[in-house]
């Protein structure tokens, strides 16, 4: 069975970015990240890498939520709105899944529920249990 807490606890990079995995099941997932000084880029707004990492965690949790390993092979992200503070939420939804590949859309929102980034992830599905 897929164990959310275990999944996130082993992920050192997401942990150091302060990302919390709220839920993950059957191809969907939700994650949050509260912005502070460490997420900023040189322009004083949330770093594209930080926003990507939040969306990527929701994607990975959704893709792995069936209990078999899936690895990211391609991701496309569009940045929509620059944000400076508050909590960002990422929601992952499954678009398709066959025995080899699965596709997910992840939307990142700010506290006003305005879109911050649109992320599309393609995963390669292994047969290995997690």
């Amino acid at each position: 069975m897929f164990d959310i807490k275990n999944f996130i606890q082993k992920d050192k990079f997401a942990q150091s970015a302060g990302i919390t995995l709220i839920e993950a099941s059957q191809g969907t997932a939700k994650a949050e990240m509260t912005l502070d000084e460490k997420h900023m880029n040189g322009l004083g707004v949330a770093h594209g890498g930080a926003v990507f990492t939040l969306a990527d965690l929701a994607f990975a949790a959704a893709a792995n939520s069936y209990g078999t390993a899936a690895m990211a092979i391609n991701i496309s992200i569009s940045y929509i709105k620059a944000v400076k503070s508050g909590t960002l939420t990422a929601i992952a939804e499954e678009e398709s899944k066959n025995h080899k590949l699965s596709n997910y859309t992840v939307r990142v929102y700010d506290e006003s529920h305005e879109p911050v980034a649109l992320f599309k992830g393609l995963a390669y599905r292994k047969k290995d249990k997690i």
Copy 2:
């Protein structure tokens, strides 16, 4: 004039990921990141978000190297090889540039110069000086 050291020193997220900007000029850039425990994902390999952040820094440095501000609007990344240790190098090259938009390819290599990720970034160019 574009000041590399200033650019990276203000970038808290890239700094905390241990990324070093080696050079940046006229639409090109090179950055490095030595992998350690903090870059790992739940599977014990370099996190997709860490590899993305390295490539993104090289992209941002190249796109901003003319001294006018450019912001990422779309990025596509393909993950090619999982890596566990060593120093990763990202090389950004300019594919096109007009007064509004510019495109960059960033290739991330491991220490054996094998490709780790292929990153394509599209930037929106502002008129503001950095």
Copy 3:
């Protein structure tokens, strides 16, 4: 006002591919293409370029549906299922829109409503009326 019939009648490439624009308004659009011999690739399945062109028409119609010109600057497409015959339907939905840029997701389905392709388009919005 945005005139769907005029929009598609001027598009020679979409016309020769046999694409029909069913509806377009307020950031959404729907288009169809019935597969025949001319859409096939060397493997006897619908050509990636044909599926792309169908999705692209729905994207363009949605992005231009407000009556001001918008042009595609970046597109990402994932191919999910190979199809050989029947009518494909593309549905475009708006993910975000500001005064410069807008993002759309287009889903292409076969007659069983199974996903054939997932398309994400980024448009640059001009001030010109169409």
Copy 4:
């Protein structure tokens, strides 16, 4: 052995778009398309679907050039310059290849060798001979 002429002769969609495959070997390929009325969109410039189809043919030829079947699973394209006439050239180069996946960059140029589009394709490699 990979037979270029056979590959393109079976591709009805590329043929009807007037695309010529010039060469393909060892992960590289070159294709051309001379623009005329049938390639135009509603704005009187080369249709994004036509430019995509040209680049896609070069990508497919490069990915299949080893004689084993490879199918496109994800493509990202950036449109750089609108073109109205002349011959477009697409050059595909291999970025990476392992036993399952391969990545290609395709650059589309106009007659002045200015960049028209930047295309990045990811292929899934089967074990089947073509």
